[in-house]
């Protein structure tokens, strides 16, 4: 049985950063990932990473922008920590080799990003997440004596001892189907968001809410689940992301009448208002008939000098060419708001500790909450790194002071039985792909930019029905080598659990704040709803709802305009 001080599940930016900080603190580390680490979805983060590193900039300014961006639902103590630590994190990345863009003097250069009062986004062309992920992986290879990598191992269950402490996990080696108990003193979830519960989404096929559902199933509280970010610029049909960096470099949004409509919605920041504001503006234009026939508006990148686009936005030049047949340096491209990120997740404190002892969470799987009702662009990479590092450090420090807990290895029999039951399910009912599609389309229709009671109720009924159908959906593959069918069945269960908590949260919050815009409750209502909605598992029944206060340190809620 593999035993380590710290077990990390997920190897995107948060997981790899946690592994490095735990190793640096002297702990033995295992990092488990269902895909090779460089395939993790952090790789798709394009635009950059925020930090008040310029001498003229201040962390207070960054913190205030983040608080305002969150529509005052973010916890200000955590936001202060994140923005204070941001400059050091950039320098750490620079020193281990990230090829950040330089200005003409050879110093780190920045670009503008949405919702920010200064240009404080550090970047590598439009492959920032990719560049950081690959460089962190270089460090994992360098430290292979201290960090054991389990690549292409799928986590099925988190393990608890009799006192409820999380003491490890059960994982399946995808190459041969063998199950293994991983024993650990601290377990850090870093397995990302749940974008695949929506269709379309900018998120990869692997982003299926695994960690959120695993924590939820052992009783951890989730928070802010209703806050789902729609990115303002995604391609119609396939949902591919066009980075906010495009607008940061000067691209305009135009409706079908050729009007730069953001002037009416955000007269000061135009295209660089926060994402919830821009997405709502676009959706309003589309709904009121000023969009194009394909239900889109246009992003005009020809405003950016061509040479600059080719150097700094090369990836979206390729995406435009390969996936939309458009040369973005010469003509506008049609875009619409698309599901991108979940602000909510497993509730943690600022050291990553969840409500389950021994269990940590960092990155998109977690909700600290630094993003509140709406995340600012280029704050997610920062979130993964700062809280990944803090979780790794805290987990390691705790682990080094305690003996290895005993792990109830008998649990493996139960997991074996569950997997066998899935393997024996015959085709006949609906296929997994069909159930997943209906889930995604339902969420995208009723739990999107604009919501109301009727639609949310309907979505909830559908999700409940899909849960029943998913429990008996058949599979085709009975083998044990790379059986992706059995994994898809388990992932579908995770997505349905997460989807239900999103719907329940959205139903509960009877106001409009950040990404949650209720047509039946327009306007923010601080008196009743300046609080987090926490959600926890309630057996097979509808999840339980409770509340927790928002931490306010120095910025009282004000009216939010851009």
């Amino acid at each position: 049985m593999p035993s380590h001080d710290v077990l990390i599940i997920g190897a995107g930016l948060a997981g790899q950063r946690a592994a490095l900080s735990a190793a640096e603190a002297g702990a033995s580390v295992a990092i488990v990932s269902k895909v090779h680490p460089v395939r993790s979805h952090s790789v798709a983060a394009a635009g950059g990473i925020n930090a008040a590193l310029n001498p003229e900039d201040t962390w207070e300014s960054h913190a205030f922008d983040t608080v305002k961006g969150s529509d005052y639902l973010g916890d200000q103590d955590a936001i202060e920590i994140m923005t204070r630590e941001a400059p050091n994190e950039i320098l750490y990345l620079e020193h281990i080799g990230v090829t950040f863009h330089r200005n003409e003097t050879g110093h780190l250069g920045t670009r503008a990003f949405g919702g920010a009062s200064a240009a404080r986004t550090y970047y590598v062309a439009d492959i920032t997440g990719h560049a950081i992920l690959h460089v962190l992986y270089e460090q994992l290879m360098k430290r292979s004596e201290q960090i054991d990598r389990y690549e292409e191992w799928f986590t099925t269950d988190l393990l608890q001892d009799e006192d409820g402490r999380c003491v490890g996990a059960i994982c399946r080696d995808l190459r041969d189907g063998a199950l293994e108990v991983f024993n650990a003193k601290a377990v850090i979830l870093a397995s990302g968001g749940a974008g695949q519960a929506y269709k379309p989404t900018t998120n990869g096929l692997i982003v299926t809410g695994d960690g959120i559902a695993q924590a939820y199933r052992i009783g951890a509280k989730l928070m802010d689940m209703e806050m789902v970010q729609y990115h303002p610029t995604t391609l119609a049909g396939n949902g591919l992301l066009i980075t906010e960096g495009a607008r940061g470099e000067g691209a305009w949004l135009l409706n079908a009448e050729g009007e730069r409509f953001m002037e009416r919605y955000a007269p000061n920041k135009f295209e660089l208002a926060s994402r919830d504001v821009v997405s709502r503006a676009e959706q309003t234009e589309i709904n009121e008939g000023r969009g194009f026939e394909d239900g889109t508006v246009a992003l005009d990148i020809t405003k950016v000098p061509r040479r600059r686009t080719l150097e700094a936005l090369r990836e979206i030049v390729n995406i435009g060419r390969d996936f939309a047949g458009v040369d973005i340096t010469r003509e506008p491209i049609h875009i619409l708001p698309g599901m991108h990120y979940i602000m909510g997740g497993v509730k943690t404190d600022s050291d990553g500790q969840t409500t389950i002892p021994g269990l940590y969470a960092a990155g998109e799987v977690a909700c600290v909450s630094v993003h509140g009702g709406n995340r600012l662009g280029a704050n997610s990479l920062l979130d993964t790194l700062v809280f990944g590092r803090r979780s790794g450090l805290h987990g390691a420090t705790q682990a080094l002071q305690m003996p290895m807990p005993s792990t109830p290895s008998s649990r493996i029999a139960e997991t074996e039985k569950n997997i066998e039951a899935i393997m024996n399910r015959q085709q006949g009912g609906r296929r997994i792909g069909a159930i997943k599609s209906e889930l995604g389309e339902t969420m995208n229709e009723y739990v999107a930019v604009f919501r109301d009671e009727e639609g949310l109720q309907k979505a909830h009924e559908i999700v409940r029905r899909l849960k029943e159908e998913a429990a008996v959906a058949g599979i085709d593959d009975r083998g044990s080598v790379f059986n992706q069918d059995v994994i898809a069945a388990i992932e579908l269960g995770y997505m349905l659990d997460v989807a239900e908590t999103i719907v329940v949260g959205a139903l509960e919050r009877k106001e409009s704040r950040g990404a949650q815009w209720r047509l039946d409750y327009p306007g923010r209502n601080d008196e009743e709803w300046l609080k987090h909605i926490d959600i926890s598992m309630n057996g097979a029944d509808v999840p339980l709802v409770s509340y927790s206060p928002v931490t306010i340190t120095r910025w009282q809620p004000e009216e939010r305009t851009y």
């Binding site: 895909v35 979805h41 020193h95 050879g106 992301l241 296929r431 792909g433």
Partner: protein, 366 residues
């Protein structure tokens, strides 16, 4: 929507059976991807087809496969583009009712197949990456703030940073097919990412190592397959050639494999003859006709020469005399290049599109 027939190579190591071909027909638009088609088949017909995939936008590097004989990412290869390869140029998607074009999908080459379209990248690709000390060795002292580095250098290494480790270049590397120990295109491109980075302290050691290794930078045979295969414009072969230029010209590394001498013999040969005169090339690569090492090489080359003579590929006259003399245009080219203060390096992030050779000067390596 037109129909496409996908012919997918299936292999299940547990079955004990040899690989087989499954065919499925899908209705999809010509600009949808091969991965779209495979996922549709998985969703609707057969969930047991194994393929790694995630982002569907050519950034995660999971879905490297061979499609109608050419390696690439299934997610950014359009169905009509893949079909075209199997049917030659001038081909158009057939009208309704006509036979659907066939797209053959196979696992990548040069790596063992684990199952269906899934290959063992750890056994080959990642081992080779590990071989090139794939992390920054910091130039000391590490500054308190960032290293001050020219803008151009960071843009330059961003081209190799853009590698997504998909393995497409490894799949069709001819040198690796002959010499499985060849470090290979992806790992050598990764090596350039450090050699081109002014923050790295070990340029000389890295270049020495990769020059002296008989499976290193001089093992590449310029077949261009990796440049064709790369979905991200990393141009691995160009990076290998840059490693050679930096090793030979800037660090003066004369390797025991005679790679350095061979390159210089090549340049000398073309300068003199205008086109390649092979008998001289071999001798010059080993120090000239009178050098003992050259004699040995010439002797060992004799059977090839005899075969060449018998088959009429050369005549005693072309073998022994110098029938060609470089025309003035060639001399002018050499003079122009020799007169440059800096080397020209083609870099997509600097120069723009592949089809727009507005070549931009980058800093010479130091």
């Amino acid at each position: 929507m037109p129909e496409y027939t996908l012919r997918i190579r299936r292999y299940d190591p547990q079955s004990g059976d040899a690989p087989r071909w499954d065919t499925h027909t899908v209705d999809l638009s010509p600009v949808q991807s091969v991965l779209d088609a495979i996922l549709k088949i998985k969703d609707d017909e057969d969930g047991s087809i194994g393929i790694r995939c995630s982002c569907q936008q050519a950034i995660c590097g999971s879905c490297g496969v061979r499609m109608n004989g050419k390696p690439g990412l299934a997610c950014n290869t359009h169905l009509d583009e893949a079909a075209q390869r199997g049917h030659g140029t001038g081909w158009n998607p057939p009208d309704e009712g006509q036979e659907a074009p066939v797209i053959t999908v196979e696992p990548m080459g040069n790596m063992p197949v684990i199952r269906d379209l899934i290959v063992d990248m750890d056994a080959v690709h990642w081992k080779k990456i590990q071989r090139v000390t794939p992390w920054l060795i910091n130039k000391e002292p590490v500054p308190e703030r960032e290293y001050i580095v020219p803008h151009e250098n960071m843009v330059d290494v961003t081209q190799t940073m853009a590698c997504i480790q998909c393995g497409a270049c490894v799949s069709d590397c001819l040198a690796m097919e002959v010499d499985p120990l060849f470090v290979g295109p992806a790992a050598l491109a990764k090596a350039y990412r450090f050699v081109g980075d002014p923050r790295d302290a070990d340029h000389r050691e890295r270049l020495n190592d990769l020059s002296e290794d008989p499976h290193g930078i001089y093992d590449c045979t310029h077949c261009f397959n990796c440049i064709d295969a790369c979905p991200k414009g990393v141009d691995p072969m160009s990076q290998i050639m840059r490693l050679r230029r930096v090793a030979g010209s800037d660090f003066d590394i004369k390797d025991r494999n005679n790679g350095y001498n061979h390159e210089h013999a090549f340049v000398k040969n073309i300068r003199k003859n205008g086109i390649l005169h092979e008998p001289d090339l071999l001798a010059d690569s080993y120090g000239g006709k009178l050098h003992p090492a050259a004699g040995k090489e010439l002797l060992s080359g004799l059977p090839t020469a005899v075969t060449g003579l018998l088959r009429g590929k050369m005549t005693p006259r072309t073998a022994l005399l110098h029938p060609h003399k470089a025309p003035p245009e060639v001399k002018k080219l050499f003079d122009t290049i020799d007169g440059k203060q800096q080397r020209y390096e083609l870099n997509l992030y600097v120069s723009g599109y592949e089809d727009e050779p507005e070549g931009t000067e980058t800093e010479g390596q130091s």
